[in-house]
């Protein structure tokens, strides 16, 4: 029995989410939220380091240690982590370089960590903003609008954008696929039902293409039922089979 113990993410403490899998394997599960910047902030905090003076060698080592733990990761997420690893190594090596300060460059010399620190601070700001949104939505969830009233029914409308249109279309397609599958899985349609729907189609449209009708069937059984239904309807109702050309489509026509 594989037992998965999940230590859930605590919004207020920046702990990476750790999933304990079977066979003593510890796996760091890095969801989208805990990206490389989060991991860095976490490590800096663990080291109780000053964000404006990051001990880059130490943090880089720690970071790489974590990276090594991440074997079974989503590739795109892992990619982000590897990019950061490369950045850290680059900063580390820059800081190890002997400080050969040429007179020209002296003024422009910049701490190699600066860009990273800026990014971390920016990221942290938005994390705090996310927390604010989280608190707001918690309050909002305690407030309810009125239930449906009569005037809503006459106006059951939705606003639409192009993305809605696409979303709706995708849903229809998905529903369509689902229906086809369901039809295959469920009990076959009965002859009586097949007759009923066939009759309805012919009487509504005056005529019906036999080919089109047969193409709608999803299984052999349904096809056979459909065939019997056609024979039955020609026998019992005022419906004719007509073929316009020798190998053309056969039309069921109301007489």
């Amino acid at each position: 029995m594989e037992q998965t113990e999940q230590l859930s993410f605590d919004f207020y403490k920046e702990t990476a989410q750790i999933t304990r899998e079977s066979r003593d394997e510890l796996k760091l599960h890095l969801g989208e939220f805990n990206g490389p910047l989060d991991l860095l902030l976490y490590l800096i905090k663990q080291e109780q380091a000053n964000i404006f003076d990051i001990p880059i060698a130490k943090i880089t080592d720690e970071y790489l240690k974590y990276i090594r733990l991440m074997k079974h990761l989503d590739i795109s997420v892992a990619g982000d982590f590897l990019v950061m690893a490369a950045t850290l190594i680059e900063i580390k090596s820059k800081m190890l370089l002997p400080q050969e300060i040429s007179e020209k460059e002296e003024e422009e010399m910049e701490d190699p960590r600066e860009a990273l620190v800026r990014q971390l601070l920016e990221h942290q700001k938005f994390k705090n903003a996310a927390q604010m949104l989280y608190e707001r939505t918690t309050v909002e969830q305690a407030v309810f609008p009125r239930g449906k009233i009569e005037s809503d029914e006459n106006n059951a409308e939705t606003n639409a954008s192009v993305f809605d249109l696409l979303g709706v279309f995708q849903k229809i397609l998905a529903r369509h696929v689902e229906e086809v599958q369901m039809e295959i899985e469920r009990e076959e349609i009965s002859l009586a039902d097949m007759l009923k729907s066939l009759k309805k189609r012919i009487f509504e449209n005056k005529e019906l293409s036999l080919l089109a009708f047969f193409e709608e069937m999803h299984t052999r059984r349904e096809l056979v039922t459909a065939f019997i239904a056609v024979l039955e309807i020609v026998r019992t109702e005022s419906v004719q089979l007509m073929q316009t050309t020798t190998f053309g489509d056969i039309i069921l026509k109301k007489v």
Binding site: S76, G147, I149, A156, L165, L166, F169, I172, A212
Partner: protein, 193 residues
Amino acid sequence: MPKTKNHFMEVEEKQTRSISEIVSIVEALVFVSDDPVTVKIIADVLEEDRETVEAAVEELKQEYETREGGLQLREIAGGWQLVTRTEYHEEIRKFLKTRPSAKLSLAALETLAVIAYKQPVTVPEILDIRGVQSASAIKTLLDKKLITAKGRKETVGRPMMYGTSKDFLLQFGLKDLSELPSIEDFEDLVQGM
């Protein structure tokens, strides 16, 4: 404030709502409900006895009557419901008419989506994709000039084919049909850019 004595049981704790609190909760429940709410249901939810809830409902009703505001609490079909006062029906009707009419029902939206992505398309084909009759949705879309007839299909019954109109482009902010997001675009978004 209602906690005047020590309670030993959880259940008992729930009984300590003041009557005015119960009145407020009744108001909130009647407000959020889609259908008239019975005293029994409220009593069950609050785990209060029927008499208490009945008294609260009566008090709330009195309150609405005394206030003479825009709403009233009324008993209907064995339950309680908040509705507007009859006096203001003219203003309400006028207000309801001013609501933006550019909105589409879900049925119309679905039909429009099928037409936009599959055009030119016939009614039987739309039926096939949506799985439901779309006649009234098509009428709505024609009325709103979002779709137009595009001639007949040379097949059994020669059904009419439909496509989107220029107004469709305008309303959805599209330069032309090629600007419609493709399903593949959406999939890319999901998989990561």
